[in-house]
């Protein structure tokens, strides 16, 4: 029994002639928080989209939780235990917080009614409050619809959704890119909660302070390739920037960029 939760070998994605991602070898251990950094177009989001099945990879293998996987779509990935917060928040604006949290996995009663089975609003509300409490997210009124919420609250709802349900791996794609200081702090608190609970996380972020604060390891992408794999304790911001800009390339990735 290994403690590797996710492993990719030679993961490659071409969009026509564009090599968005080439030969990505990546390992994530149980309980580990890893940041993925890199310039725009470096292949970070592409990498995540291949893992979560949003797109189908050109070549390479993905092993998740000890098994080789081939997700046909994000739903399959979620069923397998990968929860993702996408850059474009997948929230329904006209629904309130519990509805969004439980979208697609509602708690229902009278299941013999098939598609017309009844919603158990009380149970979902209760579970939502517990979930929000666990993740320390403060939303004043969970009956408010998403469209009446600030960007930070929306982001918190999206993240609380991934954190409310038991998952084996959480992926966040720039969760704080559009947020203010206070809201960013809330999101970071959620991430710390995940760490405490021992849930592994892949965090895509541009925020160096945040990355240095939160994660164990930093993987740098450049021009569709992984160019560095750094332990947080053995590196510093300047070092990481050098890899991001291409001034430096990791020893084991010679010739990559």
């Amino acid at each position: 029994m290994t403690d590797i939760i996710l492993e990719t070998k030679g993961l490659t994605k071409h969009y026509g002639g564009v090599h968005a991602l080439s030969d990505a070898d990546f390992v994530l251990h149980k309980g580990e928080h890893v940041a993925i950094m890199g310039d725009n177009g470096a292949g970070k989001s592409t990498f995540v989209r291949q893992i979560t099945g949003v797109e189908q990879r050109t070549s390479g293998t993905i092993r998740f939780d000890g098994k080789e996987v081939n997700f046909s779509g994000p739903i399959r990935a979620r069923e397998a235990g990968i929860e993702t917060v996408f850059q474009t928040l997948a929230l329904a604006d006209d629904l309130n917080v519990p509805d969004n949290l439980f979208l697609g996995r509602e708690i229902t009663m009278c299941n013999w009614l098939g598609p017309f089975r009844l919603l158990n609003y009380r149970a979902m509300r209760q579970a939502t409050l517990e979930g929000l409490e666990r993740t320390a997210v403060k939303i004043p009124n969970i009956n408010n619809t998403i469209q009446n919420m600030s960007g930070g609250q929306r982001q918190c709802v999206a993240i609380a959704r991934t954190a409310t349900f038991p998952s084996k791996l959480t992926i966040m794609d720039e969760p704080t890119a559009a947020l203010g200081v206070q809201e960013t702090e809330q999101v970071e608190n959620i991430i710390r909660t995940l760490k405490k609970a021992g849930d592994p996380l892949i965090l895509i972020s541009h925020n160096m302070r945040q990355v240095m604060d939160l994660v164990d390891r930093i993987v740098v992408f450049r021009r569709g390739r992984i160019v560095a794999n750094l332990n947080r304790d053995e590196t510093d911001g300047q070092d990481v920037v050098a890899y991001i800009t291409g001034a430096k390339t990791g020893a084991e990735y010679e010739g990559a960029a």
Binding site: P74, I75, R78, E79, F86, T88, L89, A90, L91, A92, D93, D94, L95, D99, L103, G104, R105, E106, T108, L113, P115, F116, R117, L118, L119, Y121, K138, I139, P140, N141, N143, N144, Q147, N148, M149, S150, G151, G152, Q153, C156, A178, L179, G180, V181, Q182, E183, Q186
Partner: protein, 360 residues
């Protein structure tokens, strides 16, 4: 999103944004419209002090002009049944233009299975089928209607969900197909003389009871069932719904099936009420049904609206129609005014949405 940059944090919350349901606005609008007609009735020189909705003949049993109220409710109830289905389609982000012709086609087909054998002692002069189709139990034509509606809805829904044709185009095609079916069924001849049981379905105030009953049922369905929640979710953000694991395609087929079944049922009630079916039945019904929903606050962009709103929208629709007749507005101008009101309702919805977008 932009607001978050001010660093005010994610914790502020304006209580005023909830607690004022849109339905209340429509109800107020309904009252205002009634008052406007009431005032017009008092002030227009040719009206001779008639009242619009109130009893002016000093009877003690009622303060309302019951006859007019009854006509208003009766007038909207059949199109209202269609509007209940159209409401669901619009909430899911689609549109259904085929409901009016579907009423015509369903009425023709269904009436053929609801005929009596003997009319005034002689054979039925409008008979469509042979002897086997006479005097069938009333359940049979109703089931045939629902099955036909389900079939048309399934075709609509499948076209929209699987081939990704815009709903407008798919249902516009079905609009023509259904009108064609209605005319081809008997080569344009009306179908008449239903059985007593069938005639009872839509006699008297029965259409109103059906409308109210179905409205309550679908209010419940939209608000408290998985089907309803997913309908709102798909209309609100289809990608989010898909990513959340909702089978969007299957659900869309279901929504259009429910809508078409309601339209076909409306055809049963209409043909039963009129004791005849004609291929031209249901002209403009699809537009009136959409108008009722839109006036009732169902957003054409999807995700928002309610059955209560649509019922109120139907009442507004009926009151305006009846009011125009009351102030003796020419039928041609009535149609024009109706069109203006529908455009007004959509504009209002747009303004409301833009205001909502500004808030966040």
């Amino acid at each position: 999103m932009a607001e978050s940059n001010h660093g005010t944090g994610g914790l502020k919350f304006d209580k005023k944004k909830i607690g004022w349901p849109n339905e209340l606005n429509i109800f107020i609008a309904l009252i205002i419209i009634i008052l406007i007609f009431e005032a017009l009735g008092q002030s227009l020189p040719y009206m001779k002090d008639q009242s619009f909705l109130f009893d002016t003949r000093d009877r003690f049993d009622s303060i309302f002009n019951e006859a007019r109220l009854r006509i208003i409710i009766l007038q909207v109830s059949i199109i209202g049944i269609i509007a209940l289905g159209v409401t669901q389609v619009i909430i899911s982000g689609g549109i259904d233009l085929s409901s009016g012709p579907l009423v015509g086609a369903s009425a023709m087909i269904v009436m053929s299975f609801a005929q009596t054998e003997l009319v005034n002692g002689g054979p039925n002069p409008k008979a469509v089928f042979g002897e086997w189709a006479f005097d069938l139990p009333v359940l049979i034509p109703v089931i045939i209607a629902l099955a036909f509606g389900a079939l048309i809805g399934a075709i609509n829904g499948s076209l929209i969900a699987f081939t990704r044709i815009p709903p407008f185009i798919a249902t516009l095609g079905m609009f023509l197909i259904c009108r064609g079916i209605a005319q081809a069924w008997t080569r344009g001849k009306p179908v008449s003389f239903p059985t007593e049981g069938y005639a009872a379905l839509g006699s008297g105030m029965m259409p109103v009871y059906w409308f109210i009953g179905l409205a309550i049922l679908f209010h419940f369905v939209l608000k408290y069932t998985l089907y309803g929640k997913h309908t709102y979710a798909i209309g609100s953000n289809e990608d989010a719904a898909r990513m959340s694991g909702i089978n969007v395609q299957r659900h869309k087929v279901m929504v259009y099936m429910v809508a078409s079944m309601l339209a076909a049922f409306a055809a049963v009630i209409l043909s039963s009420k009129n004791l005849t079916a004609q291929s031209g039945m249901g002209i403009f019904y699809e537009l009136y049904a959409i108008a009722m929903a839109v006036i009732g606050g169902v957003s054409l962009t999807g995700g928002r609206g309610s059955i209560i709103g649509t019922v109120l929208g139907a009442m507004v629709f009926g009151v305006i129609q009846s009011g125009f007749t009351y102030i003796k507005l020419d039928a041609y101008y009535q149609l024009m005014a109706m069109g203006a009101i529908i455009i007004g309702a959509v504009v209002l919805d747009k303004v409301r949405q833009e205001r909502a977008a500004l808030r966040t």
